[in-house]
């Protein structure tokens, strides 16, 4: 199964280190009109979190059934065999923004020449067994590169552990 970058919103603190590491890796410079590939959102809503604030770090999901790839009229967007990464051939991009309309996550970005660019899953790095730059930098280990099933398994285990903890009579280190 292909691997993707997963976010554990329980761990993310919204610092933005992943955004900076991504720009360092991919030579993206906002002052040249190049918006970052990855973004972090602070979302405040008391209905979803008791403390009112959650953080989400997001870039291209490299979807299995990619609407951007289907929408692109010139074939500039393609799936790399093997890794399953969705990659862009900038020389074929005509700047029509069809991919932006198709992407349900709002991922495609355009540089000053109106050429589309987005997360490449750090193809260089993963080809030699390194983790993507965003995963490497995260001190909270909120981002990880793994298969969807592995990520789900971890979530399941964590939930089971917290259930056991909540129902256990044993408490650590406290005088009753």
């Amino acid at each position: 199964m292909k691997k993707a970058v997963f976010l554990d919103p329980e761990r993310c603190v919204g610092c933005g280190a992943c955004v900076v590491a991504c720009m360092d890796e991919n030579d993206i410079y906002p002052e040249k009109g190049e918006p970052p590939l990855r973004r972090v959102y602070q979302i405040e809503d008391r209905r979803i979190s008791e403390n009112g604030i959650i953080y989400i770090s997001i870039a291209c999901n490299h979807c299995e059934d990619s609407p951007c790839l289907i929408a692109c009229p010139t074939g500039a967007i393609s799936r790399e065999p093997g890794s399953g990464r969705i990659v862009t051939d900038t020389s074929l991009c005509i700047g029509c923004h069809s991919c932006a309309l198709a992407c349900p996550f709002g991922i495609p970005r355009y540089n000053a020449e109106e050429k589309m660019y987005k997360c490449t899953l750090c193809g260089d790095r993963i080809s030699v067994g390194l983790e993507p730059a965003c995963v490497r930098v995260c001190f909270q280990e909120a981002l990880s590169l793994e298969s969807a099933n592995d990520f789900q398994g971890k979530k399941e285990k964590a939930l089971m552990e917290s259930l056991i903890k909540a129902t256990s009579q044993k408490r650590i280190g406290f005088r009753e």
């Binding site: 720009m23 360092d24 030579d27 405040e44 930098v137 650590i172 406290f174």
Partner: protein
């Protein structure tokens, strides 16, 4: 996207890329994350955290991740500069290093002869690696006036612990059952500690967080005590009320190892949980719950922060009340409590003995005139052994009392650090001679007569210790850019030009480090074999309960609920010996009339993750993470009432001055409180403070609780 090029940044043996090791010193101290620098043709092409570094283990924060922009930023100062226009006009001409150093040495020696060496002050901003050498230079020159940014950061917390414990007590997070984190958000300031916090919570550690804001840290707390800014003392005393009256305190420890308990106990009786609620805004039941959790834990540690609590006009007394909780519960210097460990180097207990103290104090204080601030803040020199109180600098420049200050040699000085920052900027105009050394051309540099270009940490070497017994002496990974030099080289070259008779300066930087490290058995030669750093071979961990042998390092020899040092100033200065709670100098309680006109509490300096002070403001990788700055955080309820929408312009005003910034609507701010980050050139919040808005004991500015008003400003008025 640029076309994908195979292994553009990864060494493959053919593309000429090599990985070198260093550390990040954009923030300081304790952090200093290990860096892997990918170098091609003498230039850094990529940065990431070193996996083998004991502190950051491969990760970085957004500041360190932006290292490459920091090093290669166009604002770097390229050559030594001499001012040719008026001060502040930014008219300079390049000069040679020889001319610059010669001019500085000559001028300083003339002033020394005419007004005495004390007329020259030496200041250190960030970072801190060069401080031991700068302090030695100051005293070797004959001046007592070594001053630093720690005059509004590190020292007040250390001072408070010294007043209560005699020495510092650091939280033993790895072994504690309950951590009482009193105002701090390590996820934004000290990621390694943030990560440790989560790991220890997973182990079962309980977490109580005191903070007026909602932060990622408070979100992870078992109990969040969301107090009104500046009421920390009342909260701590109300917790003490619960602990004493419910007999949860360590009666053996209190009876045998503390001083002043009876008077403290009687004073605490005023602070019932209900009174605590009235004063702090924290519900009485939550105060009780937190007090019980802290006191009932087998071991509990207080996690202090450098400046959050002490940036109040009542800061020292508030923090004393907090640390007294460790005295009540006997949690001082035990495993899982607040442990004592002696400093090895630059305020870090690195588990090795050193001769830092001998190195930095080549001339005893008694042989020099009193340090800046000693007359106004007499407790300071009694407790702070290291330096003068820099907050007094503008006063002494203006008054010439008790003796004139004629020249200032600043390393990374930023005048916007002071309350009434504009007042200090004008005071700098009154100096005969002002030199500033910095990496970038800053507004403070523009006030200088001579500006010298410092290089970044990646272009030089520095020694650092870490609390887990890790040590590093970095080596340059690239050549210094332009004509920049290491701060330490500047200090050693200046020592020579000044004609100081100082053997260690004559012997050089690395010999000095060998001298400092001599008791540890570690040498520069050995450290150079470990470019990414190493664990110290023989870590020295002092035994628990050091006080059993020699008592506490306080005048009474005990942990002091009632301070014998402060007692001396009770009559003269009205400083209470007990940790008495008084509301902030400007607050609804202390100045109700003022509060009618200025109904909001102004709290400044809370950290954002991508900035540390001003150091990464200019980097687009960091500034793009926080759009529409400068902005103040205000609660959405307040905003709605005042008709303020997200990113609207608002005016923040105090009796002193006003600034216009954007509004950022967020639950992180509690209703009635305005949070503003400091030191923006476009909207410097410190101009809103009077220069004397200071804690009378420490001299620390009350940056985190003043009164202000906010109002919406129409876009047309701004543009």
């Amino acid at each position: 996207m640029r076309p994908e090029q195979k292994l553009k940044k990864i060494p493959n043996g053919e593309n000429g890329i090599v990985i070198k090791k260093s550390i990040c010193t954009i923030c300081d101290p304790l952090t200093q994350c290990g860096l892997d620098l990918y170098i091609k043709d003498g230039k850094i092409v990529k940065v990431e955290g070193s996996k083998e570094h004991a502190y950051n283990q491969g990760s970085l924060c957004p500041k360190g991740a932006a290292t490459r922009q920091y090093v290669y930023h166009e604002d770097r100062i390229k050559t030594p500069l001499k001012r040719i226009g008026s001060r502040g006009s930014n008219q300079f001409i390049p000069i040679s290093w020889e001319e610059a150093l010669e001019t500085i040495a000559c001028k300083l020696n003339v002033l020394k002869k005419e007004y005495g060496p004390e007329s020259v002050a030496f200041f250190s901003g960030f970072t801190k690696y060069f401080r031991p050498y700068l302090k030695r230079l100051t005293h070797s020159f004959g001046s007592p006036n070594y001053i630093t940014e720690s005059s509004c950061c590190y020292h007040a917390t250390a001072m408070t612990q010294a007043l209560v414990f005699g020495r510092q007590g650091l939280p033993d997070m790895a072994n504690t059952d309950c951590l009482l984190l009193w105002s701090g958000n390590p996820f934004y300031t000290n990621p390694g500690n943030g990560r440790n916090l989560v790991k220890n919570q997973e182990r079962g550690m309980k977490l109580i967080v005191v903070d007026p804001r909602i932060t990622p840290t408070t979100a992870r707390a078992d109990i969040h005590l969301r107090l009104r800014p500046g009421t920390d003392g009342a909260l701590a005393l109300a917790m003490a009320h619960v602990i004493i009256n419910e007999k949860l305190y360590d009666q053996d420890f209190v009876a045998n190892h503390t001083y002043g308990f009876e008077e403290y106990r009687d004073y605490v009786q005023h602070f019932t949980p209900e009174e605590g609620h009235r004063l702090t805004g924290v519900p009485a039941d939550l105060i009780k719950e937190a007090a019980r959790m802290y006191a009932k834990a087998k071991t509990a540690a207080i996690f202090p922060s450098a400046s959050a609590v002490v940036h109040h006009t009542n800061g020292i007394q508030n923090y004393r009340a907090v640390f007294c909780l460790a005295g009540l519960t006997g949690n001082y210097d035990i495993k899982g409590g607040n442990r004592y460990s002696p400093h090895s180097f630059i305020h870090i207990a690195g588990l090795i003995p050193t001769r830092e103290q001998e190195f930095i104090q080549p001339r005893p204080w008694e042989e020099m005139p009193p340090r800046i601030g000693s007359d106004r803040f007499p407790v300071w020199p009694e407790v702070v052994d290291e330096e003068g109180q820099a907050m007094q600098l503008p006063y002494q420049i203006r008054s010439g009392q008790p003796y004139p200050i004629k020249a200032l040699l600043g390393f990374g000085m930023n005048y916007r650090m002071w309350p009434d920052s504009e007042g200090l900027r004008q005071s700098l105009n009154m100096l005969d001679f002002f030199v500033n050394i910095d990496i970038f051309m800053t507004d403070t540099c523009k006030m200088a007569d001579i500006v010298l270009p410092a290089c970044t940490s990646l272009e030089r070497s520095e020694l650092r210790c870490y609390p887990m017994g890790y040590i590093i002496f970095t080596q340059p990974v690239i050549e210094p850019l332009y004509e920049s030099r290491s701060d330490v080289d500047i200090i050693y070259q200046l020592a020579e030009k000044l004609g100081l008779e100082d053997e260690l300066f004559a012997a050089g930087y690395e010999t000095s480090i060998d001298y400092i490290l001599e008791p540890s058995g570690i040498t520069v030669a050995e450290l150079k074999k470990h470019p990414a750093g190493m664990f110290v071979p023989n870590p020295v961990r002092p035994p628990e309960k050091s006080y059993l042998q020699n008592g506490f390092a306080t005048p009474s020899g005990k942990l002091e609920f009632k301070s014998k040092i402060l007692e001396k100033y009770e009559d003269k200065m009205g400083i209470a010996a007990l940790p008495v709670y008084t509301p902030p100098k400007h607050s609804p309680e202390a100045t109700p009339d003022l509060a009618k006109e200025y109904p909001f509490i102004l709290n400044t300096g809370s950290r954002m993750p991508m900035f540390v002070h001003t150091r990464t403001f200019r980097l687009s990788w960091n500034s793009c993470l926080k759009k529409n700055q400068p902005a103040a955080d205000i609660n959405p309820e307040d905003a709605e009432r005042l008709g303020i929408k997200q990113d609207d312009y608002i005016r923040i005003s105090t009796p002193k001055n006003s600034i216009v910034v954007r509004a950022n609507l967020t639950q992180m701010a509690q209703p009635g409180v305005v949070h503003m980050h400091h030191a923006f050139a476009q909207a410097d919040v410190n101009i809103l403070f009077e220069a004397d808005y200071l804690d009378p004991i420490s001299g620390f500015p009350g940056f985190k609780s003043a009164l202000c008003n906010i109002e919406k400003v129409n876009e047309t008025e701004v543009c």
